[in-house]
């Protein structure tokens, strides 16, 4: 299938959200993993996964982007409109795209970071990407407690398999991006203030267990970045999930300035602060330079004492 609209778009963060400076390459659309919170169900995308063949158009867009932009470093997300490791064909296409990007990057003296975001463990069985000049692959694995995976990401890899997949990515010398997105308040133990606090404390304990497991296998030199981002839903999604009686439709969610439902500010800040604290305890103070908040407002970064930085500043 041919893509009829542009391939490259600056990520649309929404009103007031801190701009991380990443671009999205839509070389494929849709996904069959069926995550309950996925925005793709509500987007104008084909129902079945498709991969676009007209890469020559992408080449033109890249040339224009590199010519018009003086920046040397570019960060392209290849897992926004689909899962980067959804099928072997996806990886073959990414390899073809990498070849094009590498050629242009060398020509225009650019350094390119390609984020391969996934919820699968397909890296364990798919062929690896060819190493290319001026290209840095970031294996961005989405992580959340097993309970969350079982309930909301039914067709994806287990937490254990995802952690296993990090080892393979490291063997291939990819940089690692730990993506704690979406952070879901689950299980919810009740509706009272006390029960909500207890649920949040339980959530942090679950994440700390993940962090401990990861710290035992992670090659810190290959760690590119760690993102933290709590669940956010469009109005349509929130309504849909409420009607479906999904536990994702948490009661203490408010409409934020970008018109997305998020957990209320004290809840979000608590989650971020606690996870940042745990990350510092495990990896040391310097880890702060690798942590960013995904689609959050500047005032939330400040509340978490996190220095504002774009994703291209995290050079691995």
């Amino acid at each position: 299938m041919k893509r009829k609209i542009v391939f490259i778009k600056k990520y649309d963060y929404g009103r007031g959200v801190f701009d991380l400076g990443e671009y999205v390459i839509s070389y494929a659309s849709s996904c069959h993993l069926g995550c309950e919170y996925c925005y793709l169900k509500f987007a104008k995308t084909p129902k079945e996964p498709v991969i676009y063949e007209n890469i020559e158009v992408l080449e033109k867009e890249l040339t224009q982007l590199f010519l018009e932009n003086k920046a040397q470093n570019f960060y392209f997300n290849l897992g926004e409109t689909t899962d980067a490791f959804l099928s072997e064909k996806h990886i073959e296409t990414i390899d073809k795209i990498s070849e094009v990007i590498s050629f242009l990057a060398e020509k225009y003296d650019k350094r390119i970071f390609l984020e391969l975001r996934t919820k699968t463990d397909n890296i364990l069985k798919f062929p690896s990407l060819n190493k290319r000049k001026n290209i840095f692959y970031i294996y961005a694995i989405s992580l959340l407690p097993e309970e969350g995976i079982t309930n909301f990401e039914r067709n994806t890899a287990s937490l254990e398999k995802r952690i296993e997949s990090i080892k393979k990515a490291q063997k291939l010398s990819y940089f690692i991006g730990l993506r704690f997105e979406p952070i879901i308040v689950y299980p919810v133990l009740g509706i009272t203030y006390e029960k909500v606090i207890k649920s949040l404390k339980g959530l942090i304990i679950s994440y700390n267990k993940i962090l401990e497991k990861i710290s035992s296998i992670l090659d810190f030199d290959l760690l590119h970045s760690i993102s933290l981002g709590t669940l956010r839903l469009t109005k349509k999604q929130y309504k849909y999930l409420k009607e479906k009686k999904s536990k994702l439709a948490f009661f203490e969610m408010v409409l934020s300035p970008d018109k997305k439902y998020r957990y209320s500010r004290p809840i979000r800040v608590y989650i971020y602060q606690e996870l940042i604290k745990s990350l510092k305890e495990i990896f040391g103070e310097k880890i702060v330079n690798k942590i960013y908040l995904a689609t959050e407002f500047t005032y939330i970064w400040k509340a978490c004492n996190l220095p504002l930085k774009s994703i291209v500043q995290l050079l691995g």
């Binding site: 536990k247 934020s256 500010r265 809840i267 509340a303």
Partner: protein, 99 residues
């Protein structure tokens, strides 16, 4: 009689739907509260305010506590704002950024 505006009624309906997902007994709880409020020696508007506040506290248990602590400050109810734009930022920082 408890008087509620149209938007309050809409909010209450939505809140009951959402809370029922996490606590099936919530409807019984609310019915009991209604009985309790009806017995109060207040007019229908005051009763409406009491009932709405009760529902709000059920829907937003954390925010509700924060808003009580912030009652002397004029800030957006959802706390989605940059405190640096307010002259009393130091006084509210800890309230809005902690549980």
């Amino acid at each position: 009689m408890i008087y509620l505006t149209f938007s309050q009624r809409k909010f209450i309906k939505e809140t009951i739907e959402i809370l029922s997902i996490f606590c099936p007994e919530v409807k019984t709880l609310i019915k009991e509260k209604i009985k309790e409020i009806k017995k109060l020696d207040k007019n229908k508007f005051q009763k409406g305010e009491i009932f709405f506040s009760y529902i709000f506290s059920l829907r937003y248990p954390v925010l509700n506590k924060k808003l009580a602590a912030l009652k002397n400050y004029k800030v957006p109810w959802n706390l989605e704002f940059d405190e640096d734009n307010y002259s009393f930022k130091d006084e509210i920082k800890n309230i809005i950024n902690q549980l």
